[in-house]
Amino acid sequence: MGSLLLSTAMAYGAAFQLNLQGVRQLAQGGTGTAVPWDASTIFYNPGGLSALKNVNAYCSVQFLSANTRYVETPTGSYSADSKAKTYTPFNFYVGGPVRYKSKLSLGLGVYTPFGTGIKWDDNWRGRYVIQDIQLQSVFFQPTASYRFNDVISVGAGFVIATGNVKIQKAIPLQSGGQDGMAELKGNAMGYGYNIGVHLRASDNIQFGISYRSGVKMKVKRGYANFTVPSSLSGSFPYTAFKSDINLPQVVSAGIGVKVTERLGLQADANFVGWSSYDSLIFDYETNTASLTDTRSPRRYKNTLIVRLGANYLIGQKWTVMLGAAYDPTPVRDGYLSPDLPDNDHIMTTGGFVFKPNKKLAIMGVLEYVFTPVREGSLNEAQFSGRYQTKIINPGIGLNYEF
């Protein structure tokens, strides 16, 4: 029966790297390597943690909804919309100097740097490629930071990554006109690190460099469940599977300039090593003539993200923020899949900080992502079309400075 189960095209794109780890950073186009605003610097630049004067506790949540429409090409009258769903990536950080004026700071970050999901109608035309895919990750990062002097501080965090994956798609094996189905579920685990250097060159200029390592997310024992015609059930047993997903390394550099007492500007660049995601392999514990291991080429390319942000202090209590970023897609032509129909992202952001007193900050952000319409195909599945995605992503957060 050959490889009836074409390898599931599970993919991560620009959209999969969420870049939503701090409200203030997001509101300023995702910049944050140079300026340690609050405890969220544990993610953006661990070196900035010891620049914080006091212990900070931070939490935030986003409400991300993405709508994608597929239109058949080259000719056609068919279109399909992904099912509306709101995702809630969250972040929690706590950290600061071990005692007042200490050079050593410690902290912990819990955040969701990668995640994606898209659900199409079960009977849509791409059902043999994907019906539903959900990927979540939560990273735990204990972090230490050391301030050598008023200018330079460094930091490092160890990353324990957990995640889970769920994939559902139809299989072209029919009984009474009904398709078969494959469901794959598994938990993933991986390790990495996050290091950074923070420089306060003067009262008005800051620099930051950080490196987040790649993380090999290992699904050691997922489960695959196949619904097929009864006469073929022996060929599609309930089986465990293994898979590895190589999340990319990210190198970031940033600068923050205080132009006036009230206006600050930041710029960041992120190099994202997406080429780590070369192919996706599913290794089934039980193989049959019909159920063979699959290797699906992804061939992601490395990308460079550019970010700009500004903040402006109004009065004593309010700050407004604006930002923009250009996040090019790592997905090559010929690999455009409906499980993540990615394209270049042009994001615009805005937000506010309200400080009712010296210790508490209440933050809000709104992100709107433009992705140009992309036409292309997933050559492996001979599935082509035009995709348009619109993302809207409001979020709220709190930071408390002890």
């Binding site: 058949e72 035309r125 791409g126 043999y128 072209p172 009984s175 006469s231």
Partner: protein
């Protein structure tokens, strides 16, 4: 001011929704789909699983095309639909569990459908109640049959749908529905009968198991095409597939005789007198076939020769066919016969090619396309190949296609039309139709 806020909010919400729309189909230049007529044989009728039945007709490639043509001004498309699903005249094949005489266990195999006989009355002519018909696919018809007067007498499918079944020639019947556009896929039966009978066509005159004469083919094809073109109709020609590449010929491998060391020795002893002309080894062996051209009248089959799907499996397993007894010639295509088939197919396809060029019409090279099935075709994530049953494209008779297979054909035709007339007719969603159905 408040209104302005509301408008702004609405615009914002709207901007969160994608707004791309599919291209509107366009008809193209110099073509009119208002009356589409499909001329052909069983492949055009929607024949599948060794019979003709209603859902097969409803999922014929001309029916799919007519559905797409409706987006660019296509009209009503009438088919001579049978009353039921049983199959006419004989039962269709379905996948079921079968245990042969010498099998130790049942396995999945094509077996005759055992549902209700719901095709009673199918022999009655329905032209006056349901015609004239746009699907002029007549199972069994050869190209050279199109010019035979009274063909309706010879073919029950023709008799059922013709305007004047007793006197007309098929070439007259195909224009009754006044085509403005046509597809023409004829000629397969001019060689298929020879192939499926193992090259053992009856010697009686009029037998349909002979390969048609090339000149007769040329004249008949010209006659059909000219008649279709007389009122200026546009159309697409399809050439004929090489029947030696379909599962009917390729499913039973020539070197498919598996023997133990002991059985091989026993057989070698039995054929000892032939000084090694017949020789068996442990493992895979070439079957023994009948061949009147060699002194022994039998020999090992060779690569490039085919054992047909019609070969009784029980005879191989229980009666020693292919080992102790040669497989009879009517179940085998020898090298000589294969050459004749290929030569004829090439000659017929050359005629079709020249006719398409003469008339400046698009031609779909179905021969090449169906050969690409050997390596596999993928459509929207579903894979198809030329393997029997598992390949998904060929139906259970190993000759005709499944609805999904026919949909792949329809898309080849649509691409040729879009290319020729600069039209943008949507392709068929292949996976909307059924593939092989498993129990």
């Amino acid at each position: 001011m408040k209104k302005l806020y509301i408008l702004g909010l609405m615009a914002f919400v709207a901007s969160c929704k994608p707004n791309i729309e599919p291209e509107k189909p366009t008809k193209g230049d110099g073509v009119d789909f208002s009356s589409y007529v499909a001329v052909g044989n069983s492949l055009t009728a929607g024949y599948a699983d060794n019979s003709l039945y209603r859902s097969g007709q409803e999922n014929s490639y001309p029916s799919m095309l007519a559905e797409q043509f409706k987006t660019v001004g296509g009209g009503v498309f009438r088919q001579p639909l049978l009353p039921g699903e049983y199959g006419y005249p004989s039962a269709k094949l379905v996948l079921g569990s079968r245990q042969g005489l010498c099998d130790t266990a049942a396995s999945l195999a094509p077996i005759p459908y055992t549902g209700a006989l719901d095709t009673v009355g199918s022999s009655i002519n329905i032209f006056n109640t349901a015609g004239p018909f746009n699907n002029m696919g007549i199972p069994g018809i050869r190209c050279i049959d199109f010019v035979i007067p009274g063909y309706g007498f010879l073919n029950p499918y023709a008799r059922r749908m013709f305007a004047s079944p007793t006197g007309s020639r098929p070439v007259d019947e195909v224009v009754v529905a006044k085509p403005t556009f046509f597809t023409l896929w004829i000629g397969s039966n001019d060689v298929l009968g020879y192939a499926t009978s193992g090259g053992e066509g009856p010697t009686a005159p009029g037998g349909t198991n002979k390969i048609s004469d090339v000149d007769q083919f040329n004249a008949a094809y010209d006659s059909v095409l000219s008649n279709l073109r007389r009122k200026g109709a546009q159309g697409v020609l399809l050439n004929i597939p090489d029947v030696t590449s379909i599962p009917f010929c390729t499913t039973i491998p020539a070197k498919g005789l598996m023997l133990s060391k002991n059985d091989a020795n026993l057989l070698n002893n039995a054929y000892n007198s032939l000084n090694g002309f017949i020789r068996f080894n442990e493992g895979a062996n070439y079957f023994i076939i009948e061949d009147s051209s060699v002194p022994t009248k039998f020999r090992h089959i060779q690569e490039g020769e085919y054992i047909l799907l019609s070969t009784p499996q029980d005879s191989i397993k229980c009666k020693g066919w292919g080992t102790k007894k040669p497989i009879p010639g009517k179940y085998v295509l020898t090298g000589n016969e294969v050459t004749k088939i290929k030569t004829a197919t090439a000659a017929f396809n050359n005629i079709i090619y020249l006719m398409a060029r003469r008339e400046s019409l698009a031609m779909v090279d179905m021969n090449s396309y169906l050969k690409t099935l050997q390596t596999g075709i993928t459509f929207n994530g579903a894979g198809f190949n030329a393997n029997f049953v598992s390949g998904g494209a060929f139906s259970l008779d190993g000759v005709h296609l499944t609805p999904r297979g026919y949909a792949l054909v329809a898309n080849q035709i649509l691409m040729a039309i879009n290319n020729k007339y600069k039209s943008t007719i949507p392709l068929v969603d292949v996976n909307k139709y059924k593939g092989i159905q498993f129990p």
